[in-house]
């Protein structure tokens, strides 16, 4: 691999990694407030991609094909749809189990995930065939010296960075973000401060699901096509990323996502290693869990009673 290839792979890896980071944020935020892994998160990603799939032709009819405006509109509408779906999942499936053991909720999450995946495969819903994803944004080839970049290679990380910055701002600087952090530390104490816990949990699911929808679209732009099980692979990697970075820790999710994305891309570019991408991702997970069980940026929590 020469220098130029390394740069090219690095760009691809960061692009893929930033998508993982967006998905991982959803896992880690929900874990932060409710202490369980929302396995249906990867299916919300798929629903985001399908929302865009159905919305794109409608929007393009309105604002013309391959326009930036139209692209943004598709992103925003899909994110809004998935935010509602995420909140609905929480309300119907998880909220009634709020006082039950976490294992009950975890198994329910797996149930919700399978329900969405197999309902999606039904011929009357999406069907199980892989479908070509429509062009949502205008595409250009950009030459930078010897490097050849697709405009999507720039758009994907840019969108991600903007969203990550927005997330950081929401969580650290706004009232609702403060409430999210309070709820994640101690729900009862938060409610005694006047924080409406249910509304905050709902908001967290909405926010995470909106990010998943956008990640789903960004992922689909480069994927060969979309189908109801498409969320499983990126979902799994993003979950690993969230754990590697330290579950419950937002910067950790981003770091983990980028790490997994870059490693996976480089492994894919080395002949003989490309079939071991998952093995490498899980290898990283095992190493991290062995040597730093709380994750790269996770802090071991000590509770004083």
């Amino acid at each position: 691999m020469d220098f130029q290839q390394i740069i090219q792979q690095l760009i691809n890896g960061l692009g893929l990694g930033s998508i993982y980071a967006l998905i991982a944020l959803g896992y880690t935020m929900v874990y932060g407030v409710l202490r369980f892994i929302n396995f249906a998160h990867s299916d919300v990603l798929m629903l985001g991609a399908f929302s865009a799939f159905y919305l794109a032709p409608l929007v393009q009819k309105m604002v013309g094909p391959e326009s930036i405006m139209g692209g943004i509109l598709v992103f925003v509408l899909s994110a809004a749809i998935c935010a509602c779906i995420g909140m609905l999942i929480e309300f119907l499936a998880y909220r009634p189990l709020r006082k039950r053991p976490k294992l009950t909720v975890l198994i329910t999450a797996i149930g919700v995930s399978l329900f969405i995946e197999y309902t999606g495969q039904h011929a009357a819903v999406f069907g199980s065939a892989t479908r070509a994803f429509p062009k949502i944004l205008p595409e250009h080839q950009i030459h930078l010296g010897k490097l050849m970049l697709n405009s999507n290679d720039i758009i994907v990380p840019t969108v991600t960075i903007v969203l990550l910055a927005a997330m950081w701002f929401i969580v650290q600087k706004t009232r609702i973000g403060t409430a999210m952090r309070a709820v994640s530390f101690n729900q009862q104490a938060a409610s005694l401060m006047g924080v409406p816990v249910n509304r905050i949990i709902s908001f967290t699911f909405g926010l995470g699901s909106a990010l998943a929808a956008i990640a789903g679209i960004l992922y689909s732009i480069k994927a060969p096509g979309i189908e109801p099980l498409m969320g499983v692979q990126p979902g799994l990697r993003a979950f690993i990323a969230a754990v590697v970075g330290g579950i419950g820790n937002l910067p950790g999710a981003v770091l983990g996502g980028l790490l997994i994305g870059v490693v996976e891309t480089f492994a894919g570019g080395i002949p003989g290693l490309s079939n071991y991408r998952d093995a490498i991702a899980f290898g990283i997970l095992i190493l991290i869990l062995l040597f730093k069980p709380a994750g790269l940026l996770g802090r071991a929590t000590i509770e004083k009673v």
């Binding site: 403060t178 952090r181 309070a182 530390f185 104490a189 938060a190 409610s191 401060m193 816990v197």
Partner: protein, 235 residues
Amino acid sequence: MLEVENLHVSYGSIRALHGVSLKVPAGSIVTLIGANGAGKSTTLRALSGLIKPASGSIRYDGQEIKGLPAHAIVSKGLCHVPEGRMVFANLTVRENLAMGAYLQRDKTWVAKQTDYVFQLFPRLLEREKQAAGTLSGGEQQMLAIGRALLSRPRLLMLDEPSLGIAPLLVKTIFERIVEINREQGLTILLVEQNANLALAVSTHGYVLETGSILLEGACADLKANPRVQEAYLGA
């Protein structure tokens, strides 16, 4: 100010409270004493909306608040400092206080009240930037009370403020509780296992035993009551 009538609470099939009635007049310090497991904390948790009572009535300022969610009850000025303090361990002292002011939109009031809390507990000012988890038990209790004061309470419910705290700090904390009551005119409902301490600072007391009120009266009378002396004052 607060009138509780015939309050019943169950945890599943276990009946924790059966028919608790009590009154907290404005401006007073009322205490609820009783042994471990008598239902003291359960009573406070029902009043602040952390658990839903099965039946009975809770009137606060003449308004029925039974069944309201905890955050709605706080917004009315009925604040609860829970047992075990529940400070946000990863947040600093100052951030914990800011969290207490979550519902307060008036920034000048919050700044003034924060200063008041620091003046009440200078120890908190010294540890302003420290994570709350690194504080001692007594300091955490001060923080929990300070945090509740920032929720703009008119009635403050304190659950076992002496629990697991060094005796010297217990004395300071109780002095401050009286001070808050006198200077800010804050009504206080105090739950304590340490009956000696509680009866010394309060005006009126209730004795809770296995989920119902056994005795009530002026604190002086309760202290003189042989049953109370034997069971709770170690006389």
